[in-house]
């Protein structure tokens, strides 16, 4: 593809956003949806053309003949030695990401045109599509920017779109609060990100650049600028960038916004808060792989944070009752897996999980949206059940997503998750030496990841069984309709419009089911894009070869330790390692099978109950651990008590009330009074209170002084 077409990839969704904003409510809703969907679909065509242009090189060929495509629109700003262009870069990494964004983006736009159909406030649909297109634009800038600054534009841009879309139904304060929380939490990450950027920039001296390709060359030629391998600068910079990623990609300690972000319409949750935006942090680390491999400490931080987040989020997901909350914590957990992957230096494996997760998590969010849509905005799983009978397409497609996320053999999630687990297991501790030689971070990560895989199988089974199996529990007991305002997605919607409650759920229309089917196919078979070397069929490690131009150098630089797929690995070692890998995989699978079995015993096939609420047979309401998990381990409350409330109180009662009003103003007023007292002694002749007189006095005085001095 000609690089001249690159600006059109983000340009078309931007155009769509502008067109819808200008036309506004003047055009019918289907047209609004069509404009937005077509804009992203056209961009998707260009993205796939871009991807295709990188698919020439044969397997085993480490470096493809095709160079990255670049296109510079104009110089954005240039001050002193600092320069940033509006320039685009398409290489295998960004091309895949572009396809994910626009491909899944098109499907979700199509889905939205039906999902948003029952919005009561007809006038707002154009606003929704305008924001959604704007999001795709910003996300593409993030991915395609050829320099840090343009990436940062996208980085903050997606944050704004996320803010706007989470708070889309702004009449409910809770939604607006969730949007603001997302934006502010992300800003904390962005704060670290720009500090990392500044540090990196100034440490490069006169070779400073913002351009990724140039930066890679500069560092390759002068590693000493950033302190060499394990140097202070590169470690600090990488940690700060990762700090930025913990905001955008919802990791400890900044993950708290993502579950609340579920207040947005469900298609938004699928596109932004599952498939694309939240993976930006992993993408960024992949883009900067040449920096990260220079710092084992930073790699260790990434891996350990990822593993801890994966585990921690899973412990919350197991007790949530809101279907979207379970999926949200599951997303946080899966993002942790991805960070674990890139943190141990398995960039391809980490990114592979980005890809497969985009398929199956978008699918499950859209599936949950289909359910929520059919049940008139019911999100509580305790009032679902038995839906497989009523919504067959949703059920079967959701099944595909469910199998993928628990790692059922041969599904996409099986391949990607297993690769991360296995590579973590064989990661040498010195590669992720966060705490020097004292702690085996890789070992801890593997343990956490394995337990997380089991927890994942358990809580996803819980969700799956509670929703689709047993009998429908939604038709009754609506008096105790305990709506949690935070979790509610429905505001601005016709809550009780044509159907009323107590009806039978029904399958959703085709714009909803078609994206589900496409994503289900991808979730089931997407793993064959990158099958392990020992696997009889599929494209062996094709992704790994495909990404070789991006990750190849870094993977080589990781030195004495080689992944099995690196060419110079000996056959004997490969065979031994394969045997081990298969053994561990089997053990994992058996454990996952146990998890599913337990979940089936507890939650599967339960009959409808009169109370319909207490379905967590595994624990009682009074159980402390259960309450802790249900209340998200009180982290929000902790942040509030330790950071937010004290800041607010000090600002109001100390800074404003004391420093400003009493100290500074007190002094000023005292001076005023003193001057007044002094002036009264002098008589009132000069105190006419007229400013002109004062000003005249000043002017005359000035010239008098000048005059006197010039004579003297």
């Amino acid at each position: 593809m000609s690089p001249n077409l690159l600006p059109l990839v983000p340009g078309l969704p931007l155009l769509g956003a502008v067109v819808n904003a200008v036309l506004g409510p003047r055009v019918p809703r289907p047209v609004t949806g069509a404009i937005a969907t077509l804009a992203v679909a056209a961009s998707a065509v260009l993205s796939f053309m871009t991807l295709a242009s990188f698919m020439g090189g044969g397997h085993g060929d480490e470096h493809h003949a095709v160079e990255p495509l670049t296109y510079t629109l104009y110089t954005w700003m240039q001050v002193g030695g600092f320069k940033a262009d509006i320039g685009f870069l398409a290489d295998p990494l960004s091309a895949v990401m572009m396809c994910v964004i626009t491909g899944i983006g098109s499907l979700i736009h199509l889905y939205s045109s039906a999902y948003m159909d029952d919005a009561k406030d007809e006038r707002s649909v154009w606003r929704f599509f305008s924001y959604l297109n704007l999001f795709v634009f910003a996300m593409l800038l993030l991915v395609m920017g050829d320099n840090f600054l343009l990436m940062f534009v996208g980085w903050e841009g997606v944050g704004v779109c996320s803010y706007l879309l989470i708070g889309f139904w702004f009449s409910d304060t809770a939604n607006a609060v969730a949007g603001k929380k997302a934006f502010v939490t992300n800003r904390v990450g962005d704060f670290m990100f720009i500090l990392g950027l500044f540090w990196l920039y100034w440490s490069l001296g006169d070779k400073a650049t913002m351009n990724f390709a140039e930066l890679q060359q500069v560092i390759a030629a002068n590693p000493a600028l950033v302190g060499g391998v394990g140097g202070l600068v590169v470690t600090g910079v990488c940690m700060l960038f990762f700090g930025g990623a913990t905001g955008k990609s919802a990791q400890i300690p900044l993950y708290v916004w993502l579950p609340d972000a579920m207040a947005g319409p469900t298609p938004v949750s699928a596109l932004i808060h599952a498939a694309t935006m939240v993976t930006a942090g992993i993408y960024m680390i992949c883009r900067l792989n040449f920096l990260y491999v220079m710092s084992p400490m930073a790699m260790g931080l990434v891996a350990l944070t990822g593993a801890l987040t994966a585990f921690f989020a899973a412990t919350i997901a197991i007790t949530q009752n809101d279907i979207k909350k379970v999926l949200a914590y599951s997303t946080v957990s899966q993002l942790g897996f991805m960070f674990l992957g890139v943190g141990i230096g398995a960039f391809t494996a980490g990114f592979f999980h980005v890809l497969t997760h985009a398929f199956f998590k978008a699918l499950m969010f859209l599936g949950s949206g289909s359910i929520i849509h059919a049940l008139h905005h019911e999100q509580d799983m305790r009032r679902m059940g038995g839906l497989r009978k009523y919504m067959p397409v949703t059920f079967w497609t959701f099944t595909a997503g469910y199998l993928a996320i628990i790692g059922f053999p041969l599904t996409s999630g099986f391949f990607s998750k297993d690769e991360i687990l296995w590579l973590t297991f064989i990661t040498p501790p010195e590669r992720v030496a966060l705490f020097g030689e004292w702690v085996n971070v890789a070992g801890i990560c593997y343990g956490l990841a394995l337990v997380t895989a089991l927890l994942t199988a358990f809580y996803m089974s819980r969700l799956y069984f509670l929703t689709f199996f047993g009998e429908y529990r939604g038709g009754q007991a609506h008096d105790d309709h305990g709506h949690d305002a935070h979790s509610h997605d429905a505001h601005g919607h016709g809550h009780h419009d044509d159907h009323g409650h107590g009806h039978t759920p029904h399958e959703s229309p085709w714009p909803i089911t078609v994206p589900l089917i496409v994503l289900a196919v991808l979730s089931l078979f997407g793993g064959f894009l990158n099958t392990p070397h020992w696997f009889p069929v599929g494209a062996h490690e094709v992704l790994h070869h495909f990404f070789a131009p991006v990750f190849g150098a870094s993977e080589k630089a990781l030195g004495d330790f080689n992944w099995p797929m690196v060419a110079d690995y000996t056959t004997a070692a490969l065979t031994r390692s394969t045997g081990q890998e298969l053994f561990f995989m089997s053990v994992t699978l058996i454990l996952i099978g146990f998890s599913v079995g337990i979940a089936w015993v507890v939650y599967g096939n339960k009959k409808a109950t009169d109370h319909g609420v207490q379905l967590d047979y595994i624990a009682t309401e009074s159980d402390r651990v259960y309450q802790g998990s249900l209340n998200k381990w009180y982290i929000d409350e902790l942040y509030d008590a330790v950071i937010l409330t004290p800041t607010r109180l000090i600002s109001r009662h100390v800074l404003w009330a004391v420093v400003d009003a009493q100290l500074i103003d007190g002094l000023v007023n005292w001076c005023g009074k003193a001057a007044q007292g002094l002036a009264q002694g002098y008589g009132r002749i000069f105190q006419t209170g007229r400013v002109q007189a004062y000003a005249l006095g000043v002017a005359v005085g000035t010239f008098l002084i000048v005059f006197v001095y010039s004579i003297g």
Binding site: V79, L149, G157, K180, F191, I194, G672, A695
Partner: protein, 515 residues
Amino acid sequence: MDHILSILTFLPLAVGLGCFVAPDKAASGLALVGSLVTLALSWTLWGSYDPSGAEFQLTETIPWIPDLGIHYAVGIDGISLLLILLTTVLTPVIILSATPAVHERLNQYLGWMMVLESAMIGTFVALDTFLFYVFWELMLIPMYFLIGIWGGERRIYATIKFFIYTMLGSLLMLVAVLGLYFIYAEQNNGQYSALLVDLYKLDVPYNVQLWLFAAFALAFAIKVPMWPLHTWLPDAHFEAPTGGSVVLAGVLLKMGTYGFVRYAMPLFPEAAVAFAPAMGALAVIGIVYGALVAMVQDDIKKLVAYSSVSHMGYVMLGLFALNAQGVTGAVYQMLGHGLATGALFLLVGVLYERRHTKAIAEYGGLAKVVPVFAFVFMLVTFASVGLPGLNGFIGEFLILLGSFERSPVLTIFAASGVILGAIYMLWMFQRVMFGPLTNDKNKALQDLTTRELVYLSPILVLIVLMGVFPQPFLEVMQPSVERVVLRLAEATPSVPPTASLFDPSAAAAVEAGSR
């Protein structure tokens, strides 16, 4: 046109005087046409100014008091050019916004506003320290009346406070101006000159520099305002009418930072370098303090006023980064803050006109009733929080980039203001625009009128344009900024300021010149 700068300076004054004698209706027409002509004339400067040329261009130098070496000297460089454009863009906007809002003595209001424009342009073009001082003082008078006559309930307290603060600074500056004047005479055989180009060539002794810098700095710091000299600003804004707030935040605060970059820093480079850590620290305190106090305000105008303290702290931080990125960012932030905060005050004015309250608690859920207003308000809010793609980001980013070279620690604190900025702005926005529409008085709120859209649109266009295409603006000021930075780079103070402030030779040097 040979006298373009003089015409630009005095045309608004003539129009203003005309407004005083005209009836309201004619005065508003006159003021609008006058300010638009001024705007058109000022844009011709963009064409006639050559960024790569001499330091000051389009100069006019006429002896004013020849014996005393005082001149009517005007001229522009890239920095003042941009600030003049900011002034001439905002003035017609204010004139347009005043007509339905000001009910009493409209002609005088407009008259004072035009006189103020004259004084502001004069301050930016002046190249003689005495001329500068005259225009500087002249700005006070219209502002005094704008707040004192058309202000809120406590307007007298606010004006007096504003006046006392500013006069205190001005008097110190006058002393410093005179000091400099005499030092010139001493070094040039009794020849007097107040011309900036002459004074730039002076070799002022280090310890004298410290004193003179301190005097100038105090005057300018009050105007900026820097913490802890900021407490006049929230009161002045709270009481000022909309137009007064717009011009105050939009242009008048920039006089302080402009004073630093035009006078205090290049005239006393060694002192500027020596004081840079202290100035940087005060700037950062201002950023964080302003943001924290803005967060807990219950009144929209006070919130925006404290946000100005925070944003102007960025400008000061950038200036005292003493490098190209920092100073460029600072000038860009002056423009960015002028536009965004000006627009915020206009929007608050729109609300105030309809509901006669600025209390945040009185609002809520407005986005549903006034969607166009909501869109505009949101865009300006995002510009104010420094969202990339809008103008606020360029300045903030360059400032922080520049200051990181000088002091990473200060920059960390300063950058935390980016988080706080998002908190107070978005929280305010949420409380005003989102949530349920509970207050009955807001249910029939009128959306932006065509007139309001017309006067807001130039600001909105510039907010986007300057965010997406900053380079033309950066290029215009680049050589001028580099001259300042170069002058500072060549200066290396030998001893820390506290050690030599009380060196008795300082007074002696001034005294020698005065004889």
